[in-house]
């Protein structure tokens, strides 16, 4: 019985089966390429995620098909985490987004190998997305 949606569970399995941390970084770099990229020209103070060591920008929208995230970072590791977050939340309603637990990243065995700073960076990003979603809830 999976507690995560299938597409996320698959990613969790893929990551936790990885040989070592370097392989996980490699996978993050690959996911990073798949993000719906927010071009640097679109970066503004409003898109910036504060509290990240690296520049990280996200823009979220709720269209007909629900949640969609565009984003980018000058760090591929952060952008990879962003991309997986985008997959996790894609199509959800604002309520679902605000209720989603960021713990899937721990289960990927990625977060604990990051330093507290960077783990915080990810959590900041996740909370920022949820805040934006909450705002849209009204």
């Amino acid at each position: 019985m999976n507690k995560w949606p299938n597409k996320i569970q698959e990613i969790i399995d893929e990551f936790s089966d990885a040989l070592d941390q370097m392989e996980r970084y490699e996978m993050l770099f690959e996911y990073a390429e798949e993000i719906d990229e927010l071009d640097k020209s679109e970066w503004t103070n409003k898109t910036r995620v504060v509290g990240c060591q690296s520049e990280a920008h996200v823009l979220i929208e709720f269209g007909e098909n629900g949640f969609h995230l565009r984003g980018s970072s000058d760090s591929q590791i952060i952008q990879g985490l962003m991309a997986i977050t985008a997959i996790a939340l894609e199509g959800l309603t604002p309520e679902e987004v605000t209720g989603f637990s960021p713990n899937f990243v721990s289960e990927m065995k990625v977060l604990e190998t990051l330093t507290p700073n960077r783990a915080n960076g990810f959590l900041n990003m996740f909370m920022r997305i949820q805040d934006d979603a909450r705002e849209m809830l009204g």
Partner: protein, 411 residues
Amino acid sequence: MNLISDMSEVRSQFPILERILPNGKKLIYLDNAATSQKPYFVINAMNEYYSKYNSNVHRAVHALAGEATEAFELARKSVANWFGLPSGGMVLFTSGTTDALNLCALGWAKVNLSSGDAIVLTEMEHHSNIVPWQMLAKEKNLELRWVDVDSETYQLDLDDFKSKINGAKLACIIHTSNVLGTRNPVEKLVEMAHDSGAKIILDCAQAAAHEKLDMSKINADFLAVTSHKMCGPTGIGALLISPGIFEQMEPIQGGGDMITEVFKEYSNFQENEHKFEAGTPRIAEAIGWSAAINWMQKLDMNAAHQHTLMLAKNAAEGLKKIPGIKVYGDHSNDDVSGVVSFLHESLHAEDIAHMLDSMGIAVRTGHHCAQPLMRRLGVTSTNRASFYFYNTIEESNAFVDAVKSIVERFT
């Protein structure tokens, strides 16, 4: 008083209590108000830091730095929890109580008081809670108002406090006297200060060692505390600030870790504790202090203090029976700490201290950094024995017997 049955267990955790002095005597350490001893638990925590995960903290991307940062910030949380910091309050690490009091003077009072404003002190204050205010008063043309101490009851004159606080902006009050042991009615003083619109800072250097302070109940705006008197290492203390205070403060030191961005023309500061902690922090010290707190958490602080009180009362009673000895402080009262100040009418305080030392008994002698209080008491110094929970009734008795034998032999 369970502590007493476990006394040998408690004492065995403090390596120094086994110390044999160069003259062959076993140490009886009664100078706890100057600094307490440290259990293995604290010593080992610092060892472990230096041996296993020593690293600079913050902005770090490697494992050691992560471990050190986590332990350092956890230490801050331990301190906050232990002192019952209300949420929205902050722990600003300093070198000790003195540094904390100076931080309050320069980081808060200098910014918020102006010429002609009044600060209320008491005659019971330690120099560390006097000199910073004198220096600030001189710089900003402030008025210092002194609250009387009754030299018979050894209590603050509350009526005098009431009249002095009227119209004042800040009260700087010692929570528990390092000379008399008097525990001031701080809850009442805080209320009176706030009623008249003044802020209040409590010097808790002594108090923190003896009671579990709860800032959310005491309700003071600032508490100044130190590690080295409560089983922790030297070199660290804190200014604890209530919610709303941070916004009124300006940094007094510039440097690494307290900024967000530095330009040639100006810098932006962090808006958290780090704003007041420039430079590489006291990492091992914070970890050691937090270990001391964890260790004391297992102790029943109340029972420990009752035990300490019992030892101090026993000593005070014993001393009073010795011809020519006067005790300064009211040990019939329960609002006292473990200090017992005394003088002999003809033997010089230092001579007595030397003789006690030659018997292995460590007491402190002098003005105890409280010269205005000494003047109020009409003396220039006292001998002071100060007890802590790891002292025993045998030590308290041995101390009294020693003083008695000195007086008998030398007068």
